[in-house]
Structure formats: structure tokens, C-alpha cells
């Protein structure tokens, strides 16, 4: 069964040319969809559309066989969690209080979080060996730690689909590897993941489907074999790229087609 279906979705800011046109794809449990494309092409906007944060110009989104616009915010939050790129880094809430806010959709309107919610947050913090951070103000964490806590915020919400906007952008290589392993693990347990990234290699490492933002406001969604070719990626990024097989790792890699030779002009 499809957790999320997107059908002929288009988006445009009022009075402007469309950002993307007639995007369609389906996400099933445990699937990973990596969205790739150059800066400013509308990756974040597509994610916001999926969450119902901005209304699409046309087309529709179906969440567990119900149209998105017929669901309450609370019902949507049971299905979809969002890790924005701007996760409000200046928040002076303690890490625990920050994470507790992820339980809002499961509490009655005027209920405040209690021992059950605190225990759940503690469980997730311990799973990531971050229990020491519980009382630290979010704002005083490093960029990498903040990103990790923002992702845990998404997990504490216990959604069926986790939507992440450039989760790897602020992270060093070690943390990127940790996250890719984590995403594969939670996908194996049945949560679907949609994320954006600037690095095609992330898609190669994550496996799963790819959504490629082309230059004619289309988004092509399909398998890696069909989409992550040298020609297609070069066209999308308008930069010479080289897709090579890494026999040691048993996967492909996409590199800038630049050598160390000095230019001859």
C-alpha cells in the first residue's frame, strides 16, 4: 500500500512561472526517496508541499488513501514528520523540552507532556548515546549536534514517513556516514524516508528511488540505474560530471570531472 501518493503536482508562487510541474510518485513503507537537483530548483518547496505547509497550484497528494487537504494538522502529523533545514537553531529550549514538542500531535489540546513522553524522549536520546545533552539549551549545541537532535525530533514524532530537508548539509564525513546508516536502518524497519541532498553519492549509498529535478521544471522519479547516469546528472547540474564504479565499495560514485592538472589557458 502506498503511504504517500503524489499525483500531477505543480507549484508556483502567485504570478510567477511554475517551480515544478506535474510531479507524480508513490512512496511505500520502508522506501527511501532521494531528491537531487541544483540550488534553488524547488527541492525544499516540494517537501513543504508534501507536508501541506504551502498549497500546490494543482494536483493532489494522498496520505494513506485520504487526500491531504481533508486531514487535520494532527492527523497529518501522525503520518509525516518534517526536519526542516531551518530547525530554529536559536531556540533556548533544553534538548529534552525541544524533543518533547514532537509529541504535540499525540496529546489532547490542552494536555502537557508527562512522564510517558519524557521516557520516550529519554529512550531516543539513549539510543543515540546523547542522554547527557538532555538539559543543555539547544542553541548552545554545535551545528552537527543540532542537526542530529532535529532528526531525533522527527523520529520522536513516530511518523510513517520522515521528510528531511538537506539533513547532511552541515555535517562532517563521519556524521554523514552515521546518518546514512541510520536512515537505512529505520527504513528497513518500515519507515519511509524522503530527503533532499546536493551529493548524488548520498543517493548511491542510500539505495532506493531517486527524484531528479531537471531544468524544464520537471521532476523525474525512478530507479537509480535509469536516472543516475553520467549524461543525466551532467545535464541536471550543467557541469561536467563523471559517474564511475567503485569496485572496492561495490557501488557507483559521481564526481566532478575536474583533474588536478592546471588549466592551460
Amino acid at each position: 500500500m502506498n503511504l504517500l501518493s503524489v499525483n500531477q503536482l505543480s507549484f508556483a508562487y502567485p504570478g510567477q512561472v511554475p517551480i515544478f510541474k506535474r510531479v507524480s510518485f508513490n512512496i511505500r513503507a520502508g522506501e527511501i526517496l532521494t531528491l537531487l537537483g541544483p540550488n534553488g530548483v524547488g527541492k525544499s518547496t516540494l517537501l513543504r508541499c508534501l507536508l501541506g505547509l504551502v498549497p500546490p497550484a494543482s494536483g493532489n497528494i494522498t496520505l494513506a488513501s485520504t487526500p491531504l487537504d481533508r486531514l487535520s494538522r494532527q492527523e497529518i502529523a501522525h503520518h509525516l514528520a518534517y526536519v526542516p533545514q531551518d530547525y530554529h537553531a536559536a531556540s533556548t529550549l533544553s534538548v529534552q523540552d525541544y524533543l518533547l514538542t514532537a509529541r504535540a500531535a499525540y496529546l489532547r489540546p490542552f494536555q502537557t507532556p508527562g512522564p510517558t513522553e519524557i521516557a520516550l524522549v529519554q529512550h531516543y536520546l539513549q539510543r543515540f548515546r546523547l542522554a547527557d545533552l538532555a538539559t543543555i539549551p539547544f542553541v548552545s549545541l554545535s551545528g552537527g549536534q543540532q542537526q542530529l537532535i532535529a532528526i531525533i525530533h522527527g523520529l520522536v514524532q513516530q511518523p510513517r514517513v520522515l521528510v528531511l530537508d538537506e539533513p547532511m548539509a552541515a555535517l562532517d564525513l563521519g556524521r554523514q556516514a552515521e546518518l546514512i546508516t541510520l536512515f537505512k536502518k529505520i527504513a528497513a524497519k518500515g519507515m519511509a524516508i524522503i530527503l533532499t541532498t546536493h551529493l548524488p553519492d548520498h543517493a548511491f549509498m542510500l539505495g532506493g528511488q531517486v527524484g531528479l529535478f531537471t531544468n524544464d521544471q520537471q521532476v523525474v522519479v525512478g530507479s537509480q540505474d535509469a536516472l543516475l547516469t553520467q549524461e543525466k546528472l551532467t545535464a541536471v547540474y550543467q557541469t561536467p560530471l563523471s559517474v564511475v564504479y567503485l569496485p572496492k565499495l561495490g557501488r557507483y560514485s559521481c564526481q566532478l570531472a575536474l583533474s588536478t592538472n592546471k588549466s592551460t589557458d
Binding site: L51, G52, A77, S94
Partner: protein
């Protein structure tokens, strides 16, 4: 920041309220000892003059100070959360001056306490809506834009108030309007407290019920929406409740500056930013602060000092201190 138990801090602040109230009952042109207060309150026949002072002058005024301080600080705390902006308060957003204009118009029209309250509420809502609208057409979502448009609207509302003063009847109405501008608890009596209590209760209870959602709202629209909140509806509820509180305090005492801006910062320094604790603590600290200031206002000199003068003297340096401390902590 080491986190002390927020509940313990709340509890100890609650205990301070009656303590300070008893001290305030004893202060004034005639100072009274706790024993005199007790006999004055319980045995009216022993000394009717003292009983009269306590029941008709000091007690209403103390209740008024507690309610107004709590209302302004709670409204300030709520506005700061809902706009994700530590620099706003009822007075900076224009709510206070809008309410004063609304109240003044009702007085000019010859209305009693109910039309005055309604006028204050309507004026406050209109002012905050214009402030938000101006900030939106300026197009930037920065903190200072909201502050700036609030200052502009406050200035405009003060100009209207000036005009109303100009056309008011100098024998009766002018005095009342001047009273709104300076802020004083001298006219607070039991009937006016009783008349504003429903608005204070509705506003206060609404904010109290939504206090944790205020914390969620402080993370910004997108995150709050995706965690399952109806951000528009809740923000509207908070703005209406905060304005209701502000308008009721304006009806009781006129404009009292600084409380709504400074006290929430003090409360957050004590219990952290989670509004579950920061909002009730703001209300309590606001109540204590205004009671202290008002007691000073009516004891340090024979003629009463208008409250906004004292809150300004205490509030402005305190605010600078809090900002500097905050900057040192999270540069």
C-alpha cells in the same frame, strides 16, 4: 545553565505573594504592624478607621496590583513566544496604546466601565492587527521589523490620544484620559476589579491552557505546523487572549510600561524557555513586581508617583542587564 527544579521555583514564588501582600497592607501614610492588620481585618469595631483604610483603600489596590502585574507579564510572555521575538510586549506591539485610545473614546462618548472595557479591547485588537499588517507589508520577517512597526503604531495611537485630550471636556473627561496615559492604581476599587475580573480570567485561563503550545509555537510556523498544531488558530487565540488581558489592565490602571517586556525575561532566566513554567512564573513575578512598585509609589513621597515612571526607572536598566547576560551566555 544549570536547571533548578521549575516546580520548586514556582512554589516559592507563590509563597512570596501573600507575604509581600501583608507587608504592602502595612505600608502607607499610616504604617500598620501585622497585629494591627489582623485586628483591623477581623474586628472592625475596635478601630473602624483602620478597617476602612484596609478594606476600601489598601486591599483593592493590592489585588489590583497583583492582577495587573500578572496580566501584563503573562500577555508579554505569550506575545514573545507566539511571535518568536524576545523584544515584543503589549506596549511595544501597540496593544496598550490602542487600548488606551479605545478606552478614551468610550469615556468621551460617556460610557461606563463596560463600554470602556469593550473600547479598550477593540482598540488593542485594532492596534495589534495594524502592527502585524505593517510588518507584513514591509515584507521582512526579522525581529526588529515587528518592533519598528509596533513603535510606529504606538506613536500613532499616542497622537490620537493627544487629539482626544484636546477635544475632551477639561472638567471631567480630560482627567480620566490623562489617567490612562500615566498609569496609576489610585482609582482602583472593588467594583472596577469585579468588572474587569471576567476578562482577566478568560485571558489568563486561555493562555494557561495553551502554555505548552506556546512552547511549540516558539519553534516557528513550519515546525509547529508539522508537529500537528493549527498554527493560525492558536496564534489568533493567543493574540486575542493577550489583548484581552492587556485591555483589562488598561481599564484598571491605564498604561503601565515595561512589565510585559522585562518580567518574562526574568522568569525565563529562572526556569528556562519552556512556557509550561515560564508563563505561570511570569504572571507570578509580574504580580510581585507591580505590587512592589506600587507600594513604593504610594509610600516614598506624599504625592503619588505615576507608576510608569517607576517601572521605567527599574525596568529599563533591568532589561539592559538581562540582554547583556543573555548575550554573554549565547553569543
Amino acid at each position: 545553565m544549570a536547571k533548578r527544579s521549575p516546580r520548586l521555583i514556582l512554589l516559592s514564588t507563590i509563597i512570596l505573594v501573600p507575604l509581600l501582600a501583608v507587608i504592602a497592607l502595612g505600608c502607607g501614610r499610616i504604617s500598620l504592624s501585622p497585629v494591627e492588620i489582623w485586628t483591623g481585618l477581623t474586628q472592625p469595631s475596635r478601630n473602624p478607621a483602620i478597617t476602612n483604610i484596609l478594606y476600601t483603600i489598601r486591599l483593592p489596590r493590592i489585588f489590583g496590583a497583583l492582577l495587573i502585574g500578572a496580566g501584563l507579564a503573562a500577555a508579554g510572555s505569550a506575545f514573545q513566544s507566539v511571535f518568536q521575538n524576545p523584544l515584543v510586549s503589549p506596549d511595544i506591539l501597540g496593544v496598550s496604546y490602542g487600548a488606551a485610545v479605545g478606552a478614551a473614546i468610550a469615556i468621551l462618548a460617556g460610557g461606563g466601565i463596560w463600554p470602556t472595557q469593550l473600547g479598550a479591547f477593540a482598540g488593542g485588537i485594532i492596534a495589534v492587527v495594524i502592527t502585524l499588517f505593517v510588518a507584513r507589508i514591509l515584507g521582512q520577517r526579522g525581529m526588529l521589523i515587528l518592533v519598528l512597526s509596533g513603535i510606529v503604531i504606538s506613536g500613532f495611537m499616542q497622537a490620537i490620544l493627544g487629539l482626544l485630550k484636546y477635544i475632551a471636556d477639561p472638567d471631567s473627561q480630560l482627567q480620566s484620559i490623562v489617567y490612562w496615559q500615566l498609569g496609576s492604581l489610585a482609582k482602583v476599587d472593588l467594583p472596577s476589579i469585579a468588572a474587569t475580573l471576567p476578562a482577566l480570567l478568560i485571558g489568563g485561563i486561555t493562555l494557561g491552557l495553551l502554555r505548552w503550545h506556546l512552547t511549540v509555537l516558539s519553534l516557528g510556523d513550519h515546525l509547529a505546523t508539522s508537529t500537528g498544531l493549527n498554527v493560525r488558530l492558536e496564534r489568533l487565540l493567543v493574540i486575542v487572549a493577550g489583548t484581552l488581558l492587556t485591555a483589562a489592565t488598561v481599564c484598571l490602571s491605564g498604561n503601565i510600561g515595561w512589565v510585559g517586556l522585562v518580567i518574562p525575561h526574568m522568569a525565563r532566566r529562572l526556569v528556562g524557555t519552556d512556557e509550561r513554567y515560564a508563563l505561570p512564573l511570569s504572571a507570578l513575578v509580574g504580580a510581585l513586581f507591580l505590587l512592589l512598585i506600587d507600594t513604593l509609589a504610594r509610600t516614598i513621597s506624599a504625592g503619588e508617583i505615576p507608576l510608569s515612571i517607576l517601572t521605567g526607572f527599574v525596568g529599563a536598566p533591568l532589561f539592559i542587564y538581562l540582554l547583556v547576560r543573555k548575550k554573554a551566555q549565547y553569543p
